[in-house]
């Protein structure tokens, strides 16, 4: 009898822990949206030009910076990580080289993003002389995202049934043709989900970008070698420098807009995954 009572107390306790964990999310999202969403969704704010000293500034160049940066980063890291994943999933046969590559990828994914930031500063901004710009930030983030993209692409490739490959090979297709025309297309939804999730991470990243892209701009960056200010970085800069009198408003609105972008991206990724699973279930 005592054991069942203890069991009931324990059950209650685990419920509390679960509720706290999901409650934290609701409290943070609720508070940030309650304070900032009505500012964030004003066209004069999200389509407006930032002010350096006066109040009433907007965040359009920052939003453009974030999106531009995500595109550039993926242009660099997607082909590379897909190539690496193809090697690991299709060509390698285990062994020392593969284990070493995995060890490097694991290490890379465990490095703090500020370390990537300082590395990017030292190599792209200073040594290569690109200065604070989108391309310096994009290369830094491409390295930061490489292990995760690689892992998700590899898992999607591996989830393609062996029979598909055997069927293709038995028709006389070469291994590369099989990969290109059978394996990669079948694993595309998984690869796309992984890619969309990494867009969310890129938009939220700040520590790796403060010393690589720049922190404040007034004009929309067009050239990738121009200084930029992704929204996440600019939120930090605005609250830390507090130069504009209405900085609290700007940060509230910017944080709400950033959170909205990231949540939408995450939901899109989930939707793609779900859509794929449903289709697979039917076929």
């Amino acid at each position: 009898m005592k054991a069942t009572r203890v069991d009931r107390i324990a059950t209650f306790f685990f419920w509390i822990l679960g509720m706290i964990s999901v409650g934290i999310l609701f409290i943070i999202v609720g508070e940030i949206f309650a304070r900032g969403l009505f500012i964030a969704l004003k066209p004069s704010f999200f389509l407006g030009k930032p002010e350096a000293m006066k109040e009433g500034g907007g965040i359009l160049p920052m939003i453009v910076s974030s999106i531009y940066l995500a595109v550039l980063t993926l242009l660099i890291s997607l082909p590379l990580s897909l190539g690496a994943a193809i090697y690991l999933a299709e060509y390698s046969r285990g062994g020392k080289i593969t284990r070493f590559i995995r060890f490097c990828a694991d290490s890379l994914s465990s490095l703090p993003s500020i370390v990537f930031g300082l590395f990017g500063l030292a190599i792209f901004v200073v040594r290569l002389g690109w200065g604070y710009c989108l391309i310096s930030g994009a290369f830094t983030l491409a390295l930061l995202n490489l292990p995760t993209l690689m892992r998700s692409a590899e898992e999607s490739l591996k989830s393609v049934p062996k029979t598909y490959r055997e069927a293709s090979l038995s028709l006389g297709a070469s291994r590369w043709t099989t990969v290109r025309q059978v394996v990669v297309p079948s694993s595309l939804p998984g690869i796309i989900t992984g890619t969309v999730l990494s867009i969310g991470r890129i938009m939220g990243e700040s520590a790796a970008l403060i010393f690589t892209t720049g922190t404040f701009i007034r004009k929309i960056p067009l050239n990738p070698f121009q200084t930029a200010a992704p929204l996440a970085v600019n939120i930090w800069y605005t609250q830390s420098e507090a130069l504009v009198p209405d900085y609290r408003n700007i940060v509230n609105g910017g944080a709400a807009f950033l959170l909205l972008m990231v949540l939408v991206v995450n939901l899109v990724a989930r939707y793609i995954g779900k859509f794929y699973r449903r289709r697979k279930g039917l076929s």
């Binding site: 203890v6 999310l25 299709e90 703090p112 990231v262």
Partner: protein, 288 residues
């Protein structure tokens, strides 16, 4: 069959993908090279002991001791784990054993979304809600190790939960069934069977959470106060390695000052590598 392995187009592609795969190694090597070479100036001119074992940080007076920030990192990380690890592992057990299907789905998604919240957003939440609340209750500035620990607890929670769930799910279902068939209650099964069986996995989850806490920068920088003093009080302004780098890098001119910030990055890099090696050792033991 032999032909297609030898076909020259294919071996080109294989070489090309191998090059892509070895980029991880190249990246790690370059990061080590650049962080070390940028640290050299401070390490040689100030000396390793004067940097690592001194709490005096006054770049104007040529003092570059980082011990205070090292302590800050250790204490905020421990604080974050004290909050985040029980909560994360508990939530994982809730998800795996206790939760009804629909509730489990909600909590699991909630935790996944929590992982995606940008650290500046969590930092801003901490700065505007948590810090004033701590200030009111403890009659202090509100900034410091306590605020940073709570923020880090929230940030390590998704990492620890997700990985703990994975390790619990990977246990053979017979374990649970056998225990239940012997008349054990759910709690007895969890405590006597599941937790011991998943111990290595839960440990790895906690270590990876620790890595996240050590490296977290922006959210911590916004709530820790950024004073360059050693403190063991939970509510006094202090710094961590990461927060110091961000606070000072903007003003540091090239030279010893800037180089000393790279030394902090080197320390973080070494911490991260030690954690990865620890994880390898822990999971290898499990494999035996």
């Amino acid at each position: 069959m032999k032909n297609f392995f030898k076909s020259s187009g294919d071996s080109y592609i294989k070489a090309l993908t191998l090059i892509c795969a070895s980029l991880s190694f190249l990246a790690i090597a370059l990061i080590f090279y650049f962080i070390i070479s940028e640290s050299m100036e401070a390490l040689t001119k100030v000396g390793i002991t004067n940097i690592l074992f001194s709490t005096k940080w006054n770049p104007d007076r040529n003092q570059y001791g980082i011990l205070a920030f090292l302590c800050g990192t250790v204490m905020t990380t421990l604080g974050g784990l004290i909050i985040g690890a029980p909560l994360g592992i508990g939530t994982a057990i809730f998800l795996d054993q206790v939760a009804p299907r629909r509730m489990g789905e909600i909590v699991r998604r909630g935790v996944e979304l929590l992982a995606g919240i940008p650290s500046v957003v969590i930092g801003w939440f901490g700065l505007t809600i948590l810090v004033p609340a701590i200030a009111r209750v403890t009659n202090s500035s509100g900034y410091g190790i306590l605020a940073a620990s709570v923020v880090l607890g929230v940030m390590v929670l998704p990492t620890i939960t997700t990985l703990s769930v994975e390790s619990l799910r990977s246990l053979p279902p017979e374990l649970k069934e056998a225990s239940a068939s012997m008349g054990a209650t759910r709690w007895q099964t969890i405590r006597r069977i599941l937790i011991p069986a998943a111990r290595e996995g839960l440990l790895v989850a906690t270590i990876l959470g620790m890595g996240r806490a050590i490296g977290e920068t922006m959210a911590v920088q916004m709530v820790v106060g950024n004073a360059n003093q050693l403190t063991f009080s939970l509510t006094q302004n202090t710094s961590t390695l990461t927060s110091r780098i961000v606070t000072d890098m903007g003003e540091a001119p090239p030279g010893i000052f800037r180089s000393s910030l790279f030394v902090m990055a080197l320390v973080l890099l070494i911490f991260a590598m030690l954690l990865i090696i620890t994880i390898r050792l822990v999971s290898r033991k499990k494999g035996d």
